[in-house]
Structures are given as C-alpha cells and as structure tokens.
Amino acid sequence: MTEARADIPGAIGSVLLIGVGAAAFWAAAEFSALGSVFPRSVGTLMVALGVVYLVLVALGRTRRAAVPQGSNTRRAAVALVMLGWGFALGPLGFLPSSAAAMAALLLIANHQRWTLRTALLYGGASLGVLAALYGLFKLILLVPLP
C-alpha cells in the first residue's frame, strides 16, 4: 500500500543506504583486485540509486509506504522474543528455549481475554506442535537439535 505524499521515511532510508553503499565501497579498498571489483561496483550503484531517489523525493515524484496499524509494543516484543530464542538455543537447549519462547509468543499474539479453557487449549495445542515437530526433525529427519 502506498500513499501519495512526499516519501520522507523513504528519503531518510535512502540516506542511510547511501551510507551503507559508501561504507561497502570504502571497505573494499582492503580486498584484493579480484575480490574488490564487484563490491565497489555494487557500492557505487547503491550510492547512485540512493541519490536518484532523493532527487525524485525533492521533485515530489514518490509515494510513501502506508503507516502500519496496530500495536508497535507487540511487534517489538515478537522481535525481541525471536532474537532471544536464537541466542538461547545453544546454551539452553532446543526444548527449554522453544517452550519458553512459544509461551511468550502465545501471550503476545492473543488479543482475547484469557480463560482457563483457552489457556489449556492454546497451551496444549502449542505443546503438541512442539512435540510433533521435535519428533519429526529429531527422530525421523535425524537433525541434531541442541
């Protein structure tokens, strides 16, 4: 979804990505001649395209992405839980980290009032999914889960 307004967030993003392109170009100075040709070309292209986008914003020929609806707190919570899950997988092991992360995601994703029935139903279903997929990957596909 896009809106017909000046794309200021897109312009800010473009400035950041121009910085990324320039940094990629600059870092390529340390590479060998063979290894630096492509990074330099892509870095230059990225800077050039970012500048073109800024010009288009200045000329008013862009459309901005629609602002998302809903709770940003829940969004941030999902991102944090997923990150924590990724880093806890090794030290805690698969089952404890996954059970904890799934419980947290269940709490974040539920918008209805909690009752004993929904808690048992949703909790039981999630545990069932965890057990089934653990069995599939660990026992049938022989993936060495931590």
Partner: protein, 501 residues
C-alpha cells in the same frame, strides 16, 4: 523396446506406489518452510540405494516434483516460500488467501504445477539431446548477464518504486558478498563475527526475510490472519478450470520458460518463476492487479517452477551436469546405481532412462489428486487455527527450518536479524523480494563477471568478451526491455488517461 513398453514398465504396481509415496513425502517436506526440495531429495535418497535403477529414479523424481509443488502451500497460506522456487508465488498467492480465495489459489497452484511438470517432462522425453547442446554454449559471461537480467526484473516486480526495488537488489548483492569470496578468497564484510565466514545461508535468509516480518505484523492487531471464504466451495475446480482456459497462453509460456531456465545449470526454479511472473505481468491486460491477488501470477510461477524439474534433468542425464541442486543429488544417486550419464545414456541405457521419464510423468499426474487433497486440508487447517496458536507454531517452524540447514544456531540468529531488518525496510517501502533476488543471484553474477573479466583480459579484449557474443547480446536486449518496459508502460497509460480525460 518401443515407447509403449517403457510406459508399461513405468506402470508396475511398485513404481506407481513409489511415485505416490514420493509425491506425498516431497509435498509434505516442501510445504515446511526451510525444508527445500534439495533437502527433501537428500534426506530420502538413501532409501533408494537398494532399489532397481529405474524405480529409484522414479522415487527421486517424484520426491523432487512433489517438494517443488509443496513449497506453494506455505507461500500462499503463510506468505513464506516453502522452497526458494516459490518466492514469486507469495506475490499473488498470499493476497488471494488474505481475501478469502486461498482455496482457489491452492487449486490453481496444483493445476499449474501439474501442467508445468508435464511440459517439462515432455521436453525431456522429446528434445533432451539437442537442448542440452545449446545449454553448453552458456559461458561465464552469459551467466553474468542472466543474473543481471534476473535483477532487472525487480523493476517490473516492484509494487512501488523501481528505484527502491533496485536499491533493494543492491542490498541483496552486498549481503551475498558476506564471508569468504568464491573468486580471490578475500574475507569480506565479516567484521568480528567468525560465524559469518561461511556467508549468509540463502534458505535461512529467505525464511527470515519473508516470514519474520509477517509474524511481527500478525500480532499487532486482533484481525484474523486469513479471511475465510464466504461459502465453502470445495476445490473450486470449475472456477479454476475457467481461469486456466482464459490463461492458457500464460500457462504454456511460463512452462516453456521454466523448462528452458531449468536446462541452464545452476539457474533453478527461483529464477524460472520470477522470469515467468515478470513475463505474465508484462503481457497481461490485468497487470495492475498483479501483486494484489491476480490468479495469473500464481499460474505463471507454479507452472514455471515445476517445469524446471523436467528441464533440469536434460543436462543432468545428457551431459552429467546437474541443472538444479536437487539434480546434483540425483546425479550422485545415479552414480551409486552404476549409471553413467552422458550423451550415450539415451541409447545404451534406454530402458532405464525412458522408464524413468514415463515415471516422472506418472508422478506429475499423481500430484493432481494428492495436491488437491493436501491443499484442501492445509487451507482448512490454517484457517481454523487461532492466530495465538499459529504465531508460535510458525515461529517454531522458522527456527527449525533455519537450524536444519547446517545444524547451526548461528543461522537461526541470522534468520531473525535479517527478518527484523526486512520488517524495518518494509516500513519505509523497501520490499523483501528484490533483496532476496540480489542475495540469490549475487554469487552467480560475481562469478560470471570476474571469470568473464579474466577471460577477456587474457584474450586482450574485455569489452568483446562481454558484448560480442550472440547469446549475451540477446540477454542484454531482454535486460533493456525489462528496464524500459515499466517506464514505457506508465507513459502509454498516462497518454491513454489524458486522451480519455
């Protein structure tokens, strides 16, 4: 032996059973995000070592074709490509599911996959040796231009700005350079993170870039994750058949594109489906609807990616060069069976190879009832599951899928970080698809570019190496067309609007 004898040899009860089991196993594995067709074939290949060569090949072909089709389920219902081949299926499949037409999208995906699979197998049966010879004419420079062609398709795929799409492609290219360089051996953009030395894994990145943003947005509102259809309409076969009838040219063109791209070693189903999608959009009278739930988009991508199965077997069997990664594993299985691939395979071991091709056709036909039944079950299940349970379940699949690639927790971390990055970029209008395309095509483009540069340097004329070969020139013409088409199309639409006003 005649062709009918080979067909009858493929129709033994054991072969039919193997084809059925292979299609079901492949479809289920392909439907799980993170488990690719390559992985499905790799995991199940040891089961075929004790079989007769033709039966083993039929089982492997059935697993492969089922897995490529299975990728469409997650793409349509969860906006997460089950396999890289179904990236482009998310573009219109998920919007269809969100608007209550997920069952129709799944039926169309099944019919298109069967059609594409049959076209690919027919090419394999009739034209294998001459087509493989053409594929051999592709050198490093042609692969470079082919990768660049894939990247310029971003221009026609982007829902919003072409420039933003191209910047996204550059982000993907930069991500593809992380780790030890294939050419030159430099360690690039790794910083202090030794876990990045091996580079970013495409499958883990794919799961993160597509699936994590969906999870993040799913929890934000109490709105249902998929709209249920107004009435339960079964398989919606009649509706699907009329769409197929209307889009027969799209279906045929996409299947041929899939077969031809499948023949090119290393190109694979992801490029085939993107090229077919781009062509379908470019030529459709309803091109404005693409990306918003246009059935033609699903038809194009699903027919093309299943056509790569037959196409990919052409260089594998005729030249011993695998057309796609699963073909490489099947090639290994052939060697275990004592089958020597090469131009003489079709004459010296004709009974095995022709029985296999008919077996592949059989497996593709079996995919029709199997796919429709599994699709209906999957759609009803996903609709019925409460969002609060779906979110942790899908999150678990993403973690398992990215871990299982190399049995490494670092890839789970990469997956999440890239996913959060993709969500952030999505908020300012940079979509995930160009980034994914850049990531996939980056190594092909760089390898072709550097090798072409070296060959041109050795011959004393780099420019002639890049611009003086006929196949290169043809691809460059397509690139120019891909870049100029959106601009020309918008200009023409503007003129028509002005005339109407």
């Amino acid at each position: 032996m005649g062709s009918l004898d080979y067909l009858l040899a493929a129709l033994t009860p054991l072969n039919v059973l193997l084809a059925l089991a292979g299609v079901v196993a492949g479809t289920v594995i392909g439907a799980l995000p993170g488990l690719t067709a390559t992985m499905a074939v790799a995991v199940l290949v040891p089961f075929t070592f004790g079989m007769a060569p033709a039966a083993a090949l039929i089982a492997l072909g059935a697993i492969y074709t089922g897995a490529i089709y299975g990728g469409a389920y997650a793409a349509i219902l969860l906006n997460t490509p089950g396999t890289p081949s179904s990236i482009a299926t998310t573009f219109d499949g998920y919007p269809m599911a969100r608007s209550g037409r997920g069952d129709l999208a799944l039926t169309l995906a099944c019919l298109a996959s069967v059609f594409g699979g049959l076209v690919g197998a027919a090419f394999l049966l009739l034209l294998a040796p001459p087509m493989a010879t053409v594929a051999l004419k592709f050198g490093p420079v042609e692969y470079f231009w082919l990768a660049l062609f894939g990247l310029t398709l971003i221009a026609s795929l982007g829902e919003g700005s072409t420039i933003k799409g191209l910047i996204g492609g550059c982000i993907g290219l930069l991500l593809s350079m992380v780790g030890v360089a294939e050419v030159g051996g430099d360690i690039r953009y790794v910083g202090d993170f030794k876990a990045l030395l091996g580079g970013l894994d495409v499958v883990a990145a794919l799961i993160g870039l597509y699936c994590v943003p969906v999870l993040i947005d799913l929890v934000a509102t109490p709105v249902a994750h998929l709209e249920s259809a107004q009435r339960v309409a079964g398989f919606r076969l009649r509706e699907a058949a009329s769409i197929l009838q209307r889009s027969k040219f799209n279906l045929a063109r996409s299947s041929v594109i899939g077969t031809v791209v499948g023949i090119l070693p290393g190109a694979g189903g992801s490029i085939a489906s993107l090229v077919a999608y781009s062509e379908a959009k470019r030529t459709s009278p309803r091109r404005e609807q693409f990306g918003k739930g246009e059935p033609d988009g699903v038809l194009a991508t699903e027919s093309a990616n299943n056509a790569t199965v037959g196409g990919g077997f052409i260089p594998t069997l005729v030249l011993g060069i695998p057309g796609t990664p699963p073909d490489a594993i099947i090639l290994g299985a052939l060697l275990v069976q004592g089958i020597r691939t090469g131009p003489t395979l079709f004459t010296q071991q004709a009974p095995i190879v022709y029985t296999f091709i008919w077996g592949l056709i059989l497996a593709t036909v079996i995919m029709l009832p199997v796919g429709l039944l599994i699709g209906r079950f999957a759609f009803r299940s996903i609709i019925a599951i409460p969002k609060a349970v779906l979110v942790p379940s899908v999150a678990l699949l993403t973690v398992l899928g990215s871990f299982a690639v190399h049995n490494n927790a670092h890839e789970v971390q990469q997956m999440v970080v890239l996913g959060v990055l993709a969500w952030g970029l999505g908020q300012i209008g940079f979509s995930a698809s160009p980034i994914v395309l850049g990531l996939i095509l980056g190594s092909i483009a760089e390898r072709g570019f550097v090798q072409g540069h070296l060959i041109g340097g050795a011959r004393g004329n780099v420019l002639a190496e890049f611009f003086g070969r006929p196949i290169s020139m043809a691809i460059i013409a397509f690139i120019a067309l891909g870049l100029l088409w959106p601009w020309w199309s918008a200009r023409r639409a503007g003129k028509v609007q002005a005339r109407d006003d």
